[in-house]
């Protein structure tokens, strides 16, 4: 068992054992399953109970990771810049107050703009224990690591003892989906399987989030036709138009010579393959990075930068950035669809890897959680694959480690970007 779920290991083992015995009943159990989650002061429920270490500048990165080495249930994120950035701070605070996070240690060097003390204060205001220190005031690397380990041990013990448990069902879950390392199977099987699961999750009262509006080019009408109400329709049009403007200005349509050689002919075709992960239910509206869905149902996350004089920020510079965005929106679990095969994981929220390519599932079996390629051969229907995926999501929510979790993959990526937040107080660089 990986160290990060050790507090739940007995439960996870039971789930694993049962799977081999009563697989058939599990196939239909997700919709009615209930399990014990971790209740947070804001009423949200987590599927993990983690201590999160946050460093506030690249200079503190080594110490933060050294503190986490060998520590159970302890993950690390951080921001490399010395100059602060409102977007990055919002993102880190959303991660610090995530339902899977019970406590936070923020570590700074001591001369950067981003303030670990303010991060700890914001986390404490959310009802979670939080501590912070500057390395420059703690005697350098060795003593800072020792100090950090003491704090982590204290915080972990506290949240293990004191976090109330509460029953959870699919209705309490927010699940995000990202795709990357795609091949021809992603649009045909991988993403549609997620779509089938998202339909099931939405029908059960849960929240489903997908993103990459810059990869929905050509789908303005398709997106609008899925809007749940006129307000959502307006939000979708605005998000689409911003993404298309962005693509025109950077002259990049998210489609490459390799895509064409592989058989994709138009950007609409590629976009529809990505859009297939949305399933068929109405889209409730658009949220932005670090915002949580305003109600149950299916939501689009807009991670495209807003216009800004510095023009900084690519929309999705890599898959990990998109996954962090989905976690910042409160996803307790994230699905990642990859046809060619990817080996990333994520901190805070377990990542579940789905491939529509059965060959990839075999050749990268240590990394892949779910073989959706069986849809292409007719071995299972799309609806069956969606139900099987729902059951896997429930088992992961109950504490069974996903493949990336069991390999201790915890990649993260937080960088400078700009998204408009009119209500935010001026004070750090927008």
């Amino acid at each position: 068992m990986p160290e990060n779920i050790s507090s739940r290991s007995s439960r996870g083992n039971e789930a694993l054992t049962e799977k081999t015995v009563i697989d058939q009943s599990l196939l239909t159990s997700a919709a009615t399953s209930s399990w014990a989650g971790f209740l947070r002061p804001d009423g949200r429920k987590g599927v993990r109970n983690l201590v999160l270490i946050i460093y506030t500048v690249e200079c503190a990165q080594h110490v933060a990771h050294a503190i986490a080495i060998g520590e159970a249930d302890t993950h690390v994120i951080g921001f490399p810049g010395c100059y602060d950035n409102a977007y990055a701070i919002r993102l880190m605070l959303a991660l610090a107050r995530h339902p899977n996070v019970g406590a936070v240690l923020s570590v700074g060097l001591g001369c950067e703009y981003t303030q670990p003390e303010k991060i700890a204060a914001a986390v404490r205001a959310s009802g979670r224990p939080a501590e912070w220190f500057f390395i420059q005031q703690s005697g350098g690397t060795r003593s800072s690591v020792a100090k950090g380990k003491q704090i982590v041990a204290r915080l972990r013990e506290k949240i293990r003892q004191e976090t109330p448990r509460a029953p959870m069902t699919l209705a309490d879950l927010t699940v995000g989906c990202e795709c990357g390392g795609s091949d021809g199977t992603s649009g045909l099987a991988g993403n549609p399987t997620v779509g089938a699961f998202f339909d099931l999750l939405v029908d059960a009262g849960g929240r489903a989030i997908f993103e990459e509006t810059a990869e929905m080019i050509g789908l303005r009408e398709t997106m609008q036709s899925r809007a749940a109400n006129p307000e959502a329709k307006q939000q979708l049009a605005a998000a689409y138009d911003k993404a298309e403007r962005y693509c025109r200005s950077v002259r990049q349509w998210s489609v490459s010579p390799g895509n064409f050689a592989g058989g994709l002919t138009t950007i609409e075709e590629k976009s529809l393959g990505a859009f297939a992960k949305s399933g068929t239910r109405p889209i409730q509206g658009v949220i932005r990075v670090a915002e949580t869905p305003r109600g149950p149902g299916l939501w689009i996350l807009d991670s495209v930068p807003d216009e800004h004089f510095m023009q900084f920020g690519y929309t999705n510079p890599n898959d990990t950035e998109g996954i962090m965005d989905l976690i910042s929106a409160g996803s307790q679990i994230v699905l990642f669809v990859t046809g060619r095969g990817s080996v990333i994981g994520s901190p805070i929220a377990p990542l579940i890897k789905i491939t529509g390519n059965s060959t990839t599932f075999r050749t990268m079996g240590d990394d892949m959680d779910f073989d959706a390629g069986r849809v292409l051969t007719g071995e299972v229907t799309l609806a069956q694959a969606g139900r099987e995926l729902a059951d896997l999501v429930v088992r992961i929510a109950q504490g069974e480690p996903s493949k990336p979790e069991s390999l201790n993959h915890r990649e993260y990526f937080i960088m400078y970007k700009h998204q408009n937040t009119p209500t935010l107080a001026v004070g750090c660089r927008a």
Binding site: D183, G184, G187, L188, P192, I217, G218, L219, T222, W253, V255, S256, P257, G258, N259, F260, A261, G262, G263, L264, T265, T266, I267, E268, E269, L272, G273, F275, A276, L376, T377, G378
Partner: protein, 109 residues
């Protein structure tokens, strides 16, 4: 084993080849039947499931992915030479087989 192609949505007028194929192909997915290819088509590429005339919408995932730029017969390969995007005009100028741009020779001078 017979070569196979996958049709995503019942309304689709194209299917995606799951193997490099020529001759008879079994269509799986939203509908199952057999179709005879008029030419060799590579894995991942599309075959027309019905005759199309220029201007017809090409439908995959149950939605429009562009329009036919010339007549396309049932069983023919559907790609850059006979299907154009409504958004990205440049894609129709790319090399049919490699997808490489053909409009940039001046940049390499």
């Amino acid at each position: 084993m017979m070569s196979r192609a996958f049709q995503v949505h019942p309304n689709d007028n194209v299917a995606t080849l799951l193997n490099d194929a020529s001759g008879a192909v079994q269509i799986l997915g939203a509908r199952t039947r057999e179709i005879r290819l008029l030419e060799k088509i590579s894995r991942g590429h599309k075959v027309a499931l019905k005759d199309l005339i220029a201007g017809d919408a090409v439908i995959k995932f149950g939605a429009r992915i562009g329009h036919a730029t010339k007549p396309v017969a049932r069983g023919a390969w559907v790609h850059l030479h006979n299907l154009a995007s409504e958004v990205d005009e440049r894609s129709s100028t790319l090399d049919l087989h490699s997808g490489a741009p053909t409009d940039t020779s001046s940049a390499y001078a």
